[in-house]
């Protein structure tokens, strides 16, 4: 190994190490602040305390916002799983000339500026007379969750051997039972990971939700940004820590189901 190569190798590993630390910084900071006693985010914290978690536990307003966010995320993920799986099966089993264009259209909400999509939807829903906040949030969030399901389930279904279903039917299973016994188990990892990422994407969405919320019905990111701008206190850090825990749980489950390396496939 020449000197140049050795230097290049050292540079690569140092940059990677620094990037790992850099990526984790905001998460460490949020967790550290949430357990600190300081109301003005002093780091290192003067002493440790659980007061912000107590404040969080007492906050009725915050928990009702969390409730709305979880409901919307759960229902929109469920609808996306149904629509997305049907579409993936249709795309792979049906006869299409424009298969790739349809897939691109179905995942395109991920690639366009969320703010622009939000504005377009707001104007159209208003014109159509849809003014209920909760309903329009749900309708809009399916647009956010569907691309995750289509992308993952389509990729996973493309590897599925459909003759297995015929084999199961030859062996005496009815068509629905064959699907339930053969197809569903082999798609389970795709359902779980895409469902989890879709759920998180809905929970975390800001640029689309901001156009559909009002003073009474809000989602968590909207409420949090408002708190950061108006009355920042470490309760926000406590909420953040719980969200980080949720993401960590998703990571652990995803690792068990499909492995970290496959989760990294964009």
């Amino acid at each position: 190994m020449t000197t140049t190569e050795r230097i290049a190798r050292i540079l690569v590993w140092c940059t990677a190490g620094a990037t790992v630390l850099f990526l984790m910084t905001p998460l460490f900071v949020a967790v550290a602040v949430s357990f600190g006693s300081s109301a003005v985010f002093t780091l290192p914290a003067p002493s440790w305390s659980l007061r912000w978690y107590e404040a969080l536990g007492r906050s009725r307003e915050l928990w009702s916002v969390v409730g709305t966010s979880v409901q919307i995320a759960f229902l929109s993920t469920l609808i996306a799983l149904v629509l997305g799986t049907l579409a993936a099966i249709g795309l792979l089993r049906g006869e299409f000339r424009a298969r790739e264009s349809i897939v691109t259209f179905l995942v395109s909400p991920l690639m366009l500026p969320g703010l622009v999509v939000g504005i377009a939807m707001l104007e159209a829903y208003r014109a159509a007379g849809l003014t209920n906040v909760w309903t329009s949030l749900l309708v809009a969030h399916v647009v956010i969750t569907l691309p995750y399901v289509v992308r993952t389930v389509y990729a996973s279904l493309a590897l599925f051997d459909f003759t297995l279903i015929d084999a199961a039917r030859t062996l005496g299973l009815s068509y629905p039972r064959a699907v339930a016994k053969v197809l569903v188990p082999s798609l389970a990892p795709a359902f779980v990971t895409s469902g989890m990422f879709a759920f998180l994407a809905s929970m975390d969405n800001y640029p689309i939700s901001i156009f559909f919320t009002d003073a009474w019905t809000k989602t968590l990111p909207i409420q949090m940004l408002q708190m950061v701008e108006e009355s920042p206190d470490p309760t926000i850090a406590a909420v953040s820590t719980l969200l980080i825990l949720l993401a960590a749980a998703v990571l652990v489950i995803g690792d068990r189901m499909v492995g970290l390396r496959r989760m990294a496939d964009l």
Partner: protein, 278 residues
């Protein structure tokens, strides 16, 4: 075409998803595009003429592109080596890098931008460290500066640079580099003639992802630089949410949309060309 004659029932399964997205997402986008070319009920490009005639709007466009370029460049400089390390790493090192990428990706942008507000303050960790290292003589505030904005935005978007490059590199046979060395190529030749062309499709995709996300980011600039610095996205958001000026908002939204679509479509063409060559 005689497509309808042979339309089999299975392909109808696509209809609910396509119909749904077409109705609640595709149609609204088309309407937004259409509306921006109508002023007072008649077709007109007046709002675009007015937009591009205003020097303030050009400054906003310049701000948007400058920040997005800086974010993309920094992401490439730190993301490419990280992707190389990830492709070569094994066991615990690989797991550590993957966790450091996937975990922050699953945490919302509001959480991360909020944490950077704390890190970039005058008495924040960065300022304390730089004073301790004698880089700075006295504590300084990075929050509400362009540097602070770039740092925060790179933090949020760099995973979208690392992952596409990694997904290309993990398929590359490591013996290619050894083969080039055996044939007598020096490190510089090997970098420019072997490593760079092999990474290129991933780099094109990563650059397109990061650039289009940085152009349209809204939460990060709102929290890290504030109202005095406007980008196309913050101007679009503000004209709808605070200024109640939907005419301006839909004009900037269309400019933003065109920019983002151009980047995505252009990069898809480019990466297909590079991908076909290898």
């Amino acid at each position: 075409m005689t497509g309808f004659r042979r339309l089999d029932p299975v392909s109808l399964l696509v209809a609910p998803a396509v119909g749904y997205l077409g109705l609640v997402y595709g149609l609204p986008l088309l309407l937004l595009l259409g509306h921006s070319f109508v002023v007072d009920g008649t077709p007109s490009i007046a709002s675009f003429v007015r937009f591009f005639a205003d020097p303030f709007d050009w400054m906003v466009i310049a701000n948007t592109l400058r920040i997005a370029l800086a974010v993309t460049l920094v992401s490439l400089v730190i993301g490419w080596p990280t992707a190389i390390a990830l492709a070569r790493a094994k066991g615990a090192a690989q797991a550590a890098i993957l966790v450091a990428i996937i975990l922050p990706l699953s945490v919302g942008v509001v959480v991360k931008a909020f944490a950077w507000q704390i890190v970039l303050r005058r008495d924040g960790v960065v300022s304390q460290a730089l004073v301790w290292l004698h880089v700075w003589d006295e504590p300084q505030r990075l929050l509400f500066t362009e540097t602070g904005l770039v740092v925060g935005a790179v933090n949020v978007f760099v995973p979208f640079m690392i992952l596409p490059i990694y997904s290309v590199l993990k398929l590359v046979d490591p013996r290619l580099d050894e083969a080039a060395a055996t044939l007598g190529a020096g490190p510089f030749f090997r970098f420019f003639l072997v490593a760079l062309p092999l990474s290129l499709p991933g780099i094109v995709t990563g650059v397109a992802f990061v650039f289009s996300m940085a152009v349209s980011m809204y939460v990060v600039p709102s929290l890290l630089i504030g109202d005095r610095f406007q980008t196309l996205a913050t101007l679009t958001g503000r004209s709808f949410l605070f200024m109640r000026n939907p005419q301006l908002g839909s004009t900037t939204a269309v400019v933003l949309l065109v920019l983002a679509v151009a980047v995505v479509v252009g990069s898809a063409k480019l990466s297909r060309r590079f991908g076909g060559a290898s």
